[in-house]
Symmetry: C2
Subunit: 409 residues, 2 copies
């Protein structure tokens, strides 16, 4: 079961002016499962995104990049679950193009004004006919209030849907921010995660929108890992419809941009943490804070070494304070000149290690107490300089093996 | 159960002239478990070793490095299981020194002529009194024929002991090579693995011995992974006692050195593969061959990305040819300019992927057939140049989680 992830309440998800969502059952997944989502954008909408750096990136990711570069205004996004359309070669590209062309025809726009997304199994042909056949039903269902159903429609091995909303006031006008995301396995985003969408009705200049989506990704999706596997389909999109009647935000130093940046990043972080809380087989949620590094990059290296270690993750699952495994992970993280005698390791509020060994006052029962919690903070002080980084992850349980051994059955 | 790892037969392990082994029950592990090993060397013996690059390396690793650098002839090695003496700070160093000093006193030599090794749990104080008290029993047990018991005495979570022997003829004289190793979890050696010892009665010049131990490690222990966790205690030692009456090998280009190098490397590879076959929870043994790279380093990167992926490892456990997971791992391995359209993926003799997607003739049942085997070859052709690399690994099962969740209970 997801770790401290409250069930999603439909009424807490606020519509965003200028974006409507339509859901359909295209028959890609089992009967009764919504598996197709269309997001239609108003005429003032601007879209920016970041995508996986996986070299085997999916056909829709390649096409999204092309369509965004074409400079044409994006009119709609289309998402299918049940098949990733990755590792599908030229045929996969043709399928993604067909999907865009058909949706463009139905919405009376150009193919390059559509952004396609897919998630699911890799290396199997996309059942494109089912998607084409499902599009009219999704379009007839388009509503501004459909975020709750949309969050459900993009799920794969997720147990719970992930979504969040907030409002801020910009220049006297209320602006809404709502986002959805999915993902539970193959989670180690390198640019963004499979799949996150945040929309706001604020108006933002294109260059600022692009810098904001990168910033938000780096503070959220790029700080999580479930299994260390970077997906072929990771995509995180930020949509600004500009329909809140608030003045366009054009200055990166303005209080309006700072407020909007904080609000978007908060939503992105909530969604990213929700993905970890619902990580495959997760029973615990761990925050790994690494402080006192020379660079943020080395702090991230250390944090990810801990967060990815199967030995650390199984010890957390067992609530066993076998904390030498954390020291081992720090030691192999690749910080070549690390002086372990300066390092301090805290588990929650408990000082576990210093001076290269176990802290004098550390007692097993104190470590045990913290390990039994569902939310655990691991704090490492490197004692080198001022840089820091935070990574969120979950534990490794029997259910992780079960879910992934039986994924296609 | 270990994968295709035949039970060790005592009579197949050949004694090596000039090295005797003594085993004792020091009471570090449960009653009835041998946990202390002394290896005593003849006066002509030379020793070379490689050690973990983990910055949290264990106290005995630090002391081994110092003693080898001191240039004094090594007289004995001492190994305890049940406690790694890692993450133990200055106290750990003092404990390792005490162990060496006491064994030196008993064998009438200098402290710097002893090499200490430990394996087991990290971050807990070494029960040094038990080790000191156990040394006399180990010494009274010293025999050239004790390799079989020695292989047992260094085990931790290993199910089966690992050892191998061979003989070659050098300049008309028969030379013996015998090695033992242990390790089952925290296996992702970066220099050598926790713990490997190979002895020969050949005579080898010191510089050649050092180059040979590095070569053998790079072709064996440095090509395996179980869980991606590099241990704090990895040590691989090569001992040449020089008592076979064969002439000293001093020329790196001589047929004698080439024959010896091949024989030592073969034993090292057998031991390294035995560690993977007995990897924690292993049910399958996988060979990952990556060919056609620009450099060996990038081939290793790709092979390790596949070998470390929990998604790939759980698919192998389930015999599920969900092979898109392998493409995803290749894609995120970090080869920035990889052209996926040139890549070919084979599972055993089955061509799975080419031209960026599924091979035209690939059928699920062919993949399924290979996945059901206990020994599986994954072959990746990068289509870039001539470099290649091989990595051995095992799958990820329920038992992996069970073993590591219950390690200390």
């Amino acid at each position: 079961m997801p770790v401290n992830l409250a069930p999603l309440q439909a009424e807490k998800l606020l519509p965003v002016k200028g974006i409507s969502l339509g859901i359909a059952e295209a028959g890609i997944k089992k009967p009764g499962r919504k598996d197709l989502l269309v997001m239609r954008l108003g005429e003032h909408a601007r879209v920016a995104g970041v995508f996986t750096l996986n070299r085997f990136c999916a056909a829709p990711v390649t096409l999204c990049r092309q369509h965004l570069l074409s400079g044409q205004a994006i009119r709609a996004l289309v998402v299918n679950t049940g098949n990733a359309n990755a590792g599908t070669g030229e045929v996969g590209m043709a399928h993604a193009r067909q999907t865009c062309a058909e949706l463009a025809r139905l919405l009376d726009c150009q193919e390059a004004q559509i952004l396609p997304f897919s998630t699911g199994v890799i290396l199997e042909p996309l059942p494109v006919e089912k998607i084409l056949a499902g599009l009219p039903a999704a379009i007839s269902n388009l509503k501004e209030s459909n975020w709750f159903d949309a969050a459900h429609a993009i799920m794969t091995t997720d147990i719970q849907p992930k979504a969040a909303s907030s409002q801020i006031v910009l220049g006297g006008k209320t602006v809404t921010i709502t986002g959805i995301a999915k993902g539970s396995g193959m989670i180690h985003p390198n640019m963004a995660t499979m799949l996150g969408y945040i929309a706001t009705d604020a108006a933002i200049a294109p260059a600022l929108l692009q810098s904001l989506v990168k910033h938000a990704a780096n503070q959220s999706f790029n700080c999580i890992t479930v299994d260390g596997d970077t997906s072929t389909n990771d995509s995180f999109m930020l949509i600004a419809t500009g329909e809140a009647e608030a003045a366009e935000v054009t200055d990166a130093d303005s209080p309006e941009f700072i407020a909007l940046s904080r609000a978007v990043t908060d939503i992105a972080r909530t969604l990213a943490q929700a993905i970890v809380r619902d990580g495959e087989g997760a029973t615990k949620f761990m925050t790994i804070e690494v402080e006192g590094g020379k660079t943020q990059a080395e702090c991230r290296q250390v944090a990810y070494a801990i967060a990815r270690s199967p030995l650390v993750k199984t010890a957390f699952f067992a609530s066993d304070p076998n904390l030498g495994r954390i020291l081992a992970a720090i030691g192999y993280a690749g910080v070549a000149d690390l002086d372990v005698s300066l390092l301090k390791l805290y588990l929650g509020d408990v000082l576990v290690a210093e001076n290269g060994g176990r802290a004098a006052n550390y007692q097993e029962k104190d470590g045990q107490r913290v390990m039994k919690e569902a939310e655990i903070l691991v704090r490492v002080q490197l004692g080198r300089d001022e840089a820091h980084a935070t990574v969120w992850t979950c534990d490794f349980s029997y259910d992780y093996v079960k879910i992934n051994a039986e994924y296609r059955s």
